[in-house]
Amino acid sequence: MQGCSIERPCVYASRHPIETGRLMTKTSLSLDTSPAIYVEHLRKEYGSKVAVQDLSLQVERGEVFGFLGPNGAGKTTTIKMLNGLVRPTSGRLSVLGRPLGDREAKKRIGFLPELFRFHEWMRAEEFLDFHGSLYGLSRGERKQRIPEALKLVGLEGRSRSRLRTFSKGMLQRIGIAQAVLADPLLVFLDEPTSALDPLGRRDVRDIIRTLQERGVTVFLNSHLLGEVEAVCDRVAIIKDGEVAALGPKAGLLGGEHVVEVWVTDMPERLLHEVRRRYRVVGAEARGQGQARGPAPTGGRAPVAVNTECRLSLHLSNGEAPALVELLVGGGARVHEVTPRQRSLEDLFVDVVQVGGDR
């Protein structure tokens, strides 16, 4: 992580997070190349409960950043701190190169809250008009952008409906419309698809791609890993309020493969050996038996074997032949060795399960 300087003002004084105006650069926000989000040693305690332990990360301009973690890991709390809803206990952070609470930065930030509760007596267009005016959009700008935003989220026919009559999925859509209304440079989406059906999820994926094409930075917090995998450039997995894995999606997922192995007559000892040499993430052994035929290791007593054994294990590139040799040499009958690309889910389970469940 880089330190702070005038050009890179990751400013934030932990005791006075709401105050603004220190070390402001005069570059316009959209030309500024400072990180879209900069977080260093961020911590939040609610009384004695630590919600975010010690979080450091940086999101570059134009990135779609996936922010993952199990329930209660501190994702929402982090997003709330980045949006000035919650005061950090300590740490530094800046958004769009500006200190927290900076008005110019806030004009270019969109946020879909996790609970997406809105004033339900409003009509859809009235709701967007209210939020547009909070963004400081002129009447003319609002007139132009509200229909665009409604169209983007597929609610163009419902502009006169009251939010009270909206389903949860529609509320989530109007929440997204509100977040992208002011031509943002940075958009936070906290579980944007939690209330959506599969079609809605696909729509959100398309919206994120549209934003990505426009160069908008998207900070996406979702537990739907397929979704994150489909759209994100970089991913952080957090656990217990700390970053447990961080990197480009390709880097995190590539390099290693998951190999599914189906063998029979797998000697117990060989299974131990495989477990010792490789990172086994799944093993399913059925039926104890004795080796058929002479054991290849020599003429000793019959060996205990698993009649059927399915394994998933992590392999680096080029390790597959050695694995097959080991299995065959150990007396197992190999039926299938299927490599597949590691999915985000594998990574997630892997990272989050280290040290057991919470």
């Binding site: 709401i18 609610y46 709330k80 949006n83 000035g84 809803l85 919650v86 005061r87 008005r103 110019e104 806030k106 004009k107 930030i109 946020f111 809250p113 996790e114 609970l115 997406f116 509760r117 809105f118 004033h119 007596w121 409003m122 209210f130 939020h131 005016s133 909070l134 963004y135 400081g136 929440g175 509100q178």
Partner: protein
């Protein structure tokens, strides 16, 4: 500051949409109707007595004066209750509902949000009190043929009463849930009414303990002290005094101007404190 105006407008629209405005106006129209009816029957009763030769000991202006102050008192009470109940959840309800999550990250300051909501309610209350005071004055004039002194000052002080209560309620709303806040502020309001009566009795009996209790409650919540000044002003006639007639709602002695200044600072201070508390709160 622009943000505060947006929130003020929002608050006003919310009150209209939630049908608060319409019901307040309907019930107030009923009140004005009853008041006018009462006033006119008082007048015909008085005239009947005069015709029968049983002229009451006071002129009609005395009765009309008391009726007018009672009318103002009712407006004062209604607007006070309205100030409390309209704003009881101004912050708390939005926090509980989570609606602030989409508003606070916008380019508006937190103090603008609180100030804007306060402003929205304050303007509605000021408009309401003005309308109602005007109705009372029109009834007094066209039915009772009576016009009290210090009409503008008296009405302005009734507005001040509602602003004191509004600020206190908004402050409470940054700490407590709507229900708790409503109960607390309403109890304080009741205590202030009691305190006012106690203070007047204390003054009448020249009992310092009672007077101090009254002054103490006025410091905790100066709504009733301001009302008593309004009441005093509305009865202050040059030629004769109608203050011979004592009711718990009217004032015989002029509370100090210091109390009015205190009330203004109290309202501003409570509002300032609520922006400060809300500014530091986790949402």
């Amino acid at each position: 500051m622009g943000g505060a105006l947006i929130l003020a407008r929002f608050t006003f629209r919310e009150a209209i949409r939630k049908k608060m405005v319409i019901w307040v106006l309907v019930l107030s129209a009923i009140f004005v109707g009853l008041y006018a009816y009462g006033f006119s029957s008082l007048r015909s009763n008085y005239l009947e007595r005069v015709a029968d030769g049983q002229e009451p000991p006071f002129g009609f202006a005395v009765f009309a004066g008391v009726m007018t102050v009672l009318g103002f008192y009712t407006v004062n009470f209604l607007s006070g209750v309205m100030a409390i109940f309209a704003s009881v959840g101004s912050v708390a309800a939005e926090v509980d509902a989570g609606t602030f999550h989409a508003i606070v990250p916008k380019p508006v300051s937190r103090w603008e949000i609180v100030l804007g909501k306060w402003l929205g309610y304050a303007l509605m209350l000021a408009a309401y009190v003005s309308l109602m005071c005007l109705s009372v004055l029109l009834v007094a004039r066209y039915i009772g043929g009576y016009t009290p002194p210090n009409r503008v000052a008296g009405s302005a002080l009734v507005v001040l009463v509602s602003l004191v209560l509004l600020s206190l309620t908004v402050l409470g709303s940054t700490f407590f849930s709507s229900l708790t806040n409503g109960i607390i502020v309403f109890m304080l309001y009741g205590v202030a009414l009691m305190g006012g009566v106690v203070e007047q009795i204390g003054e009448f009996l020249q009992n310092d303990t009672l007077t101090s209790i009254g002054v103490g409650t006025s410091l905790v919540i100066p709504s009733d002290a301001v009302w008593r000044t309004a009441s005093y002003l509305l009865q202050q006639s040059g030629g004769f005094s109608i203050q011979a007639i004592q009711t718990p709602f009217t004032a015989s002695s002029n509370p100090s101007n210091a109390m009015l200044v205190y009330a203004v600072f109290y309202a501003a201070g409570a509002l300032g404190l609520s922006t400060w508390v809300f500014g530091r709160r986790d949402l």
